[in-house]
């Protein structure tokens, strides 16, 4: 035990004395959260639009007021004629133009039908679709308020986004960033710190000492387990207090699942340290080998269901995919262990498998 404590203390000296390690360890999660939370958002806020109101009746004015009142839109200009629309798109970074026809109100009264034209900037199809939907839903809700009992029978669909009513991008990203950061940091730290000992010749000295190889592995893993854990807490705090993301499920369950992922990542790091001989090599393998699969196959950037079948199959071997599925369900939907036990079992299986293999490999290398 005393031997173990000496070792762990030494590991912490290594970490705290290396500014680069510290930066990576604590800078990366914060940067990622801020990046994904604020920059990479697909929410619509204060989108600039123009209106061209030929009707100038109470109805069109009420709709415009309603659009302006919403947080999503910012009516920057009232155009006199539809011919000015294209110029507005080109000059003013406009995403949407809405044209109200002449005699909107009369038309609706006589024909029970009127058309409002929405013109969107299709050069960015995703944004175009989203803003069009927003605008349509605002107009429809206005119509429902105004005419609660329509004369004709008609079916209205009412769409409600549950768990994430405001369609906040961060809801998706935070569990993804948790998976990404925990995977990368834990794999990178362990592999680099073990390879560093190999590189500097201290590994041989350790192996000649009575400190067993298994203990070397454990004492290497424990400090990084603790540090990854601190990271996890930092991410959770940031998402709750900075991104206003609630933790709906049980915190102990989130912590437990995260520990599983951290141990998986530590084992992977150990495996990488077995096959590499220099810190640069370990770093490249860790980053290249982890970053892309985690980004692509975790599911927070690209939906896995939309991928070709072979890629969907491959995604199953990426531990962070299972973690992401679990955390999303627990954190956002607030489900309990009963709903995620299958995914947990898969993750646990992967953890044990990698742990056993990497420890075994580490031992044989010494022989």
């Amino acid at each position: 035990m005393k031997q173990f404590l000496s070792f762990v203390r030494k590991e912490f000296y290594h970490v705290f004395r290396d500014r680069k390690t510290m930066l990576l360890l604590f800078g990366m999660p914060i940067a990622q959260i801020l990046l994904f939370g604020f920059a990479l958002t697909n929410e619509i806020k204060n989108t600039k639009i123009v209106v061209c109101d030929y009707a100038h009746d109470p109805m069109s004015e009420q709709v415009i007021a309603k659009l302006e009142a919403s947080k999503s839109f910012d009516v920057v200009k009232q155009l006199m004629s539809a011919t000015e629309i294209e110029a507005a798109f080109k000059a003013d970074n406009i995403k949407l133009a809405i044209v109200f026809p002449n005699q909107l109100y009369q038309e609706l009264n006589h024909n029970n039908k009127a058309t409002i034209q929405i013109i969107a900037d299709g050069s960015d199809p995703n944004t175009a679709t989203t803003v069009t939907n927003y605008a349509t839903s605002i107009i429809q809700s206005y119509m429902r308020d105004k005419f609660p009992q329509p004369d004709l029978l008609q079916i209205n669909t009412e769409v409600r986004m549950i768990y994430n009513p405001e369609l906040k991008g961060t809801t998706n990203f935070v569990p993804g960033v948790m998976a990404l950061v925990l995977m990368l940091i834990s794999v990178l730290m362990t592999s680099v710190s073990i390879v560093k000992e190999k590189e500097s010749g201290t590994m041989e000295v350790l192996l000649v000492s009575p400190f067993s190889a298994l203990m070397v592995v454990i004492s290497k893993a424990v400090p990084y387990l603790v540090l990854s854990f601190v990271n996890l807490i930092v991410i959770l705090l940031l998402s709750v207090f900075l991104l206003d993301l609630p933790i709906n499920g049980s915190l102990p369950l989130i912590v437990f699942e995260s520990l599983l992922l951290i141990i998986t990542a530590l084992s992977l790091g150990l495996m990488i340290s077995n096959i590499t001989n220099s810190q640069q090599e370990a770093m490249i393998v860790s980053l290249m080998g982890m970053l892309l699969p985690v980004m692509i196959f975790t599911g927070f950037m690209f939906p896995i269901e939309n991928m070709p079948k072979p890629l969907q199959v491959i995604s199953n071997i990426v531990p962070s995919k299972w973690y992401y599925t679990i955390i999303k369900a627990v954190m956002i939907k607030g489900v309990g262990f009963a709903s995620v036990w299958k995914e947990t079992l898969v993750l646990l299986g992967m953890t044990l498998f990698l742990l056993v293999i990497s420890i075994k490999k580490f031992k044989t290398r010494l022989g």
Partner: protein, 248 residues
Amino acid sequence: MKNEVVIKTEQLTKRFGDFIATNAISFEVYAGEIFGFLGANGAGKTTAMRMLCGLSVPSSGAATIAGCDVYKEPERLKKSIGYMSQKFSLYEDLTVSENLEFFGGIYGMSRNQIKAKADRVLKQLGLDVDKDKLVGSLPLGWKQKLAFSVAVFHDPKIVFLDEPTGGVDPITRRQFWDLIYEAAGRGITVFVTTHYMDEAEYCNRISMMVDGVIKALDTPDNLKRQFNASSMDEVFFELARGAKRSAD
């Protein structure tokens, strides 16, 4: 004293595929001896030493060190040996005292033992004023001397030194050998590989390895007499001339 055998190898062999790095070497080292293990680059010295320390398993043969079978009782053996590798092997981002504390710690020494021992070692090396400096900031010669002190910090029965004085200036080399003598005086058996023939003269007995086999083993004086040479340089030359393996 010369009768107690602390290292005994029998037909120790290591093959890497077709290549035989060490070929059936057998020798004995006595307690308290400074045993020089000489040979050209690639002769198989480091391989032999790694096998003796338990870092590498022999293809065949046996070795007994301090009464332990190296491959059957590795854990018991580890407490009785110290090792200084060819590469400089302390933690550069730890201070002098932290290195001593760490290595004392993993050998299971108590805090008081470590403290008392560290004070003595630091005084002996003249490093007591620098004990809170990072090891990385010390000159190479100091690092080497410190690495040796770390290797014998837990008072092993035998210490293995793999080319400990590589790249060090002659004065520091001399001081290094003073440390070796001091350790031998305390009863620690020293097993040392070197390239420097003047250092070979400092050893009680030396063995010469050529192409994976031990070609000669005796005291420096006897070897010089045997090969009719005036210096160890000539002895080495005489023996290594027939070597087939060149430098690695």
